[in-house]
């Protein structure tokens, strides 16, 4: 995949406006400068030199959640995600942001993407958040956010996720005869905050006849950096991950985090101009699959255990829009005996989490969260499922704040629970 | 066809407070435009006349000398393209003549399908009049693609075109439909044609009362079949008339469905002689009765019918479009009837025939007053000399 210049990408926009009603910030503000078309138009003017980057322009670009809902509806195929990320990289490279903000953003990202620092630095982070929001820090809220909202017992998913962190074993053998070998990234945020989700993912894969490898040296994929415009940092992380997976033998690279999956699938583009890595990056990208997609493609036996529960499904932006994975998770949920899947209004509207957006733009993020929470409550379902850790944590936070006992679970947690309850062994193995 | 036209001299008292200074019968567009110019030069007002059946629908014109332009001399089909399904006609062509021209190519135009084939196409457009098939095809406003007209500034204009869609410029055709000749003299019309359905079949179960027939009609409306007529009718007897048109399979199937729905409403027996689906108000209003056309929504129609029960003599309630056309016997003040209708949910009302005694004081249109200033401005824009039927339109515009 060649790397198109921002000017070329922007030129693909024919201003049809199809993206407007898909864009969360436009929906909230009705301001076209807060729409994808408006932002592309602005970027065109900045690229032409017709307008200098000033604080107002910067704000409109920063306000973008990067949810890429616009890409999913764009008939011209404008690669908006690449465009805005490229632009954000330029903002960082050209030093267009106030120094204090750059430092705070960097600290936030470094901490979130570093397993060893994340667990111990919640207090420091809430301070960072204070700088970014230009408002008093709210350690309580922030801590709950980072701990996946599990301070409220009601938010604990059905499977009773434990709180202990930790990584997966380097090798988990398939139950029965191995059909495939899968590399599972246990990620950065995931391994600390959602270790249980990682464990059930590995368990599911293993029960479905996959050997699961989890290279010890594999670290952060660089998704948060890429989304925030720290392109060089993202590229470093990508190279490191490619190196880490170099020796591993696997059929597919599977993730249970939508944000990571979408970045991994775009590695080819991220490293297109790196002669040493371009080919390997592209190869890795083509082997990347979301867990839901992979299980459906694998053709697993439906669980026999019942979960008599009504579930609404939230489409994580980086799963639905960036990876266009919308039916596999629903198919998996529907395969669970007793489970009733009900529609969720605006299911693919961003919940506001959006990587670090809920820290940098709390007002917008909270407005979107309130809307998401209202839609979830209106669905009548006591459980909402999603496929991205950021969304899950943020929605738990919102539901808890609204005094709701609705549970938020990762799709694979519900699936694993159903298998566990079933008498028969998993899968066809 | 003009032989069936009522005696014009007897009609004039229902058009104006004095007979026309002259009656002219142009035979071409140029002649028609010439007559308009001549009238303007002589300070005459103008009333276009077709078959004369609806002249008494509009208000009485008072205090002006006027010229009657009889359009029945312009009665040709000018161009008909069956492949495009469009037809260009002069306004004086009768509905009957138009339909037989189109029928040769297996088509029809959705206007003037009622019981009076002698009405002119220009007259039907000017009155925006549609009968029983409004639910399937809409009004003349929905059939008109383009037209020419002579205006009172002496200019001839052409709007729309001969294509089935067109958004070039303001849709003036909508204004002329239903304007009763008060904006200009229509001299040419382009209409949409449609394929003639191979089969047309009717069911007319008898009903105990008009309101019951409307209720059954509502049940049919909710069954979401595709009737080309769904009318509760009342006259000598009461019935619900349902008509389906189209391929034989779909018509037969729908008739069967309709029969079931009607039976479910307790209406099984076919009416021996169902009342007219399109009761025709007379060209010349009689004393002691009035005709009205009330528009509402389907769910309010039954209430409208009930509100008229004490004075109703003939009626057709077009259920799917919420239109009630009725003849009422005037044993009480018209104001009382109006009040009951509006209390029952009538949205707007037109008295299509009033006894001469009422016409001096009563506007035939009950249009919300807030819209009248705009209507007056539109009239002034298109008829700057105020020559076309001054005072004949809603609000005595």
């Amino acid at each position: 995949m060649s790397q198109k210049s921002p000017a070329d990408i922007a030129a693909g926009c024919i201003r049809c406006g199809f993206c407007l009603d898909a864009c969360p910030t436009f929906k909230l503000t009705a301001n076209e400068a807060e729409s994808p078309r408006g932002r592309i138009y602005l970027m065109r003017h900045l690229l032409d030199g017709g307008r200098a980057m000033d604080a107002a322009a910067l704000a409109h670009l920063d306000n973008c959640l990067g949810c890429r809902a616009c890409e999913a509806v764009c008939p011209s195929g404008v690669r908006y995600g690449s465009l805005i990320e490229g632009f954000r990289a330029r903002i960082e490279e050209e030093g267009l942001r106030p120094a204090a903000e750059v430092g705070a953003r960097g600290m936030l990202l470094d901490t979130l993407t570093d397993r060893s620092r994340l667990g111990a630095s919640l207090t420091g982070l809430s301070m960072v958040a204070g700088i970014l929001r230009k408002a008093p820090a709210m350690p309580g809220l922030f801590a709950r956010l980072l701990t996946g909202g599990q301070s409220d017992e009601a938010a604990v998913p059905l499977s009773g996720t434990g709180r202990s962190g930790g990584r997966l074993p380097a090798f988990t053998p398939a139950v029965g005869k191995a059909r495939r070998t899968v590399c599972l990234l246990d990620g950065c945020v995931m391994s600390v905050l959602f270790a249980e989700v990682n464990r059930v993912t590995a368990e599911l894969l293993s029960r479905c006849g996959c050997n699961v490898v989890c290279p010890r040296s594999a670290g952060c994929c660089g998704a948060l950096d890429a989304h925030a415009g720290r392109r060089e940092r993202a590229r470093e992380r990508a190279r490191a991950l490619i190196d880490a997976l170099e020796g591993a033998d696997y059929d597919a690279l599977v993730t249970n985090s939508a944000g990571c999956g979408s970045t991994l699938r775009e590695y080819g583009e991220l490293l297109a101009d790196d002669d040493r890595y371009a080919a390997r990056a592209a190869a890795l990208a083509t082997r990347t699959r979301d867990i839901s997609e992979y299980l459906v493609d694998l053709g697993v036996e439906p669980p026999t255990g019942r979960l008599d529960v009504t579930v609404a499904y939230h489409d994580a932006c980086h799963l639905a829009h960036a990876q266009r994975v919308t039916s596999p998770p629903r198919a998996l949920l529907r395969s669970i005996p007793g489970l009733k899947l009900v529609p969720l209004a605006e299911s693919d509207l961003c919940c506001g989490s959006a990587g670090t957006y809920n820290v940098t733009h709390p007002e917008t993020a909270t407005a979107l969260l309130d809307r998401k929470v209202a839609n979830i409550i209106a669905s009548g379902a006591p459980v909402v499922a999603a496929g991205n850790p950021g969304c899950i944590a943020w929605m738990r936070e919102g539901l808890a704040r609204a005094g709701s006992t609705i549970r938020v679970a990762h799709t694979v947690e519900l699936l694993a629970e159903a298998y566990r309850r079933g008498a028969s062994p998993y899968g066809k193995a | 066809m003009s032989a069936t036209r009522p005696d014009m001299a007897a009609l004039w008292p229902f058009v104006a407070d004095r007979p026309p200074a002259e009656v002219v019968t142009p035979a071409s567009r140029a002649e028609a435009a010439g007559e308009v110019s001549r009238a303007l030069r002589h300070g005459l007002s103008i009333v276009p006349v077709g078959a004369g059946m609806r002249l008494a629908e509009a208000n009485l014109m008072r205090g002006v000398e006027w010229l009657a332009i009889d359009m029945t001399g312009m009665n040709r089909v000018l161009a008909y393209s069956p492949d495009d399904m469009t037809v260009v006609v002069e306004p004086g062509v009768t509905a009957g003549a138009l339909q037989s021209a189109l029928a040769e190519a297996g088509q029809f135009a959705a206007l003037g399908l009622g019981s009076r084939p002698s009405e002119t196409v220009g007259g039907l457009v000017a009155a925006n009049a549609q009968g029983r098939r409004q639910c399937a095809y809409g009004l003349p406003r929905d059939q008109l693609l383009g037209f020419r007209a002579a205006l009172s500034n002496g200019e001839e204009v052409r709007f729309g075109g001969c294509t089935v869609k067109n958004v070039a410029g303001y849709d003036m055709g909508k204004l002329f439909c239903g304007s009763h000749g008060t904006l200009g003299l229509i001299t040419e019309l382009t209409l949409r044609a449609r394929p003639l359905p191979p089969v047309c079949s009717t069911l007319s179960p008898a009903a105990p009362s008009l309101a019951d027939a409307v209720a059954a009609g509502m049940a049919l409306h909710l069954a979401r079949l595709l009737p080309t007529c769904l009318a509760a009718t009342h006259g000598v007897g009461t019935a619900l008339t349902v008509e389906f048109s189209g391929g034989s399979d779909t018509v037969a199937w729908q008739i069967e469905q309709a029969r079931r729905v009607a039976a479910g409403c307790g209406m099984q027996a076919e009416a021996a002689t169902p009342p007219e689906v399109e009761p025709s108000p007379p060209a010349i209003p009689g004393p002691g009765v009035a005709w009205l056309r009330a528009a509402t929504v389907p769910t309010a129609l039954e209430g409208l019918c009930r509100s008229l029960e004490p004075c109703l003599s003939r009626a057709a309630a077009h259920v799917a479009v919420g239109v009630l056309e009725a003849e009422v016997t005037l044993r009480e003040p018209l104001d009382d009837i109006e009040r009951r209708l509006f209390a029952a949910g009538c949205r707007h009302l037109r008295w299509t025939r009033l006894p001469q005694s009422e016409r001096a004081t009563r506007d035939a249109w009950r249009v919300p007053a807030a819209q009248l200033p705009l209507m007056r401005a539109v009239k002034a824009a298109l008829d700057p000399a105020c020559a076309f039927g001054p005072g004949r339109f809603a609000g005595r515009i």
Binding site: A11, G12, C13, I14, R15, C16, G17, F18, L20, D21, A30, E32, A33, R37, Y41, V73, P75, G77, V78 | D83, T86, N128, G138, G154, V157, R158, G161, T163, V164, K165, N166, V167, G169, D171, M172, G173, K174, L175, C177, G178, M218, H221, L222, R224, L226, D249, T250, W253, V297, V321, G322, V323, R347, H348, R350, P368, Q371, L374, M375, L382
Partner: protein
Amino acid sequence: MLRADQVLTDPVEMLAYECDAYTIHKGRPDVVVHPESTEQCAAVVRLCARMGVPFTPRGTGTGLSGGATPLCGGVVISIMRMNRVLSVSPADLRLRAQAGCINSTITRAAAPYGLHYAPDPSSQTACTVGGNVAENASGPHTLKYGVTANHVSGLTVALPDGSVVELGSDADEPCGYDLVGLCVGSEGTLGIVTEVTVRLTPNPRQVRTLLAVFGSVDDASRTVSRIIALGIVPCALEMMDSIIINALEDAFAMGFPRDAQALLLVELDGLGPGLDAETAAVRDLCSEHNARSVSAAASEEERARLWFARKQGVGVLGRVAPNKVTQDGLIPRSRLPEVLARIRAIAERHSVRLCNIFHAGDGNLHPCVIFDERDPDELRRVLAANEEILRLCVEVGGSITGEHGVGVEKRDAMPLMFSEADLAAMRRVKAAFDPAGLCNPGKIVPEPSAEAVPA
């Protein structure tokens, strides 16, 4: 009158409002306001009227003729915070919504009752019903179900003097002059529509969707003419040519044969009985005209996929070339084969790349010329070819616009269709509503030309 967050004035924000989906003419507003009610909207208009400031209504700006472009600057009045469905009356087949309500939101609100809103422009997931009213929008299913004007019965309008008037009602027919009919398609030049009462249409019980593949455009267009002439009324009859087919293949891998010269998408609907016979008749007609294959959508998913292809068909051209101009000519349907051939000849003569994707059943052509505006010579040739195509449409008895509106794009082409007397009458109607000329100025009707001779 308004809160601070309802008013935008930052120059960066004004940039986003300087044009709609038609980008050749631009105008930068001074202020953008977001009223939240009819009353607020009227108050803004009153202020504009008092101060003599021009104002332009705007929805999502998906229009293709510059209708929402504030040519003379002034105030852009966005209807986007008036976006709610107000009421649904399923038995009366009526729905009332604020003007900023998205077209597809209306259909979603009607769906639980088995109803839908029939006008379905390709932009229906983004465009507003207020914008649809302004442009008298239509879509593929217009062929059977009619345009916006056939589906709107009542409007609330903030008039250019700032007063508010209710036009029409929820009843089926107009009373007095049909001011609703006049306002539909008036491109926001007679006032600002703030609420709309629309007609809802029952969903068809059965639908058959056919895809016919042709080796020549000529065969496909003759098939269209024959279907219409035989008196079959499909609910949609759409055509796409080889450039579009290949662009769709590149983008979405639809599985269309890349060497096909034309695709016809034919949809028939009805109650059920007789529908198969009608479908068979269309199949036969396609085969008689050398269709390489005719296939029917086997499932709702397949049908949705075919319509997805059709609705993405214009936008997908963004992948083929940086710029495109979509024409909107309308022609009598029987002239389709001839006109398509002549358009092809025009394109060849001017050496421009032209493709066709259009509502064949209505005779509504959308010849798209694709180009790169950075090449000035190509741009010049494109504009010349465009003008010739417009003239051709008028010459065969058609119109310069079937659904996109005149706006600013085709304002100066209006004399191709209309005499000075016609245009003068339109100007007088405009002045009847807007004597000060502040409401969306510079649209639809050109200024009287100096050399115009009064008739």
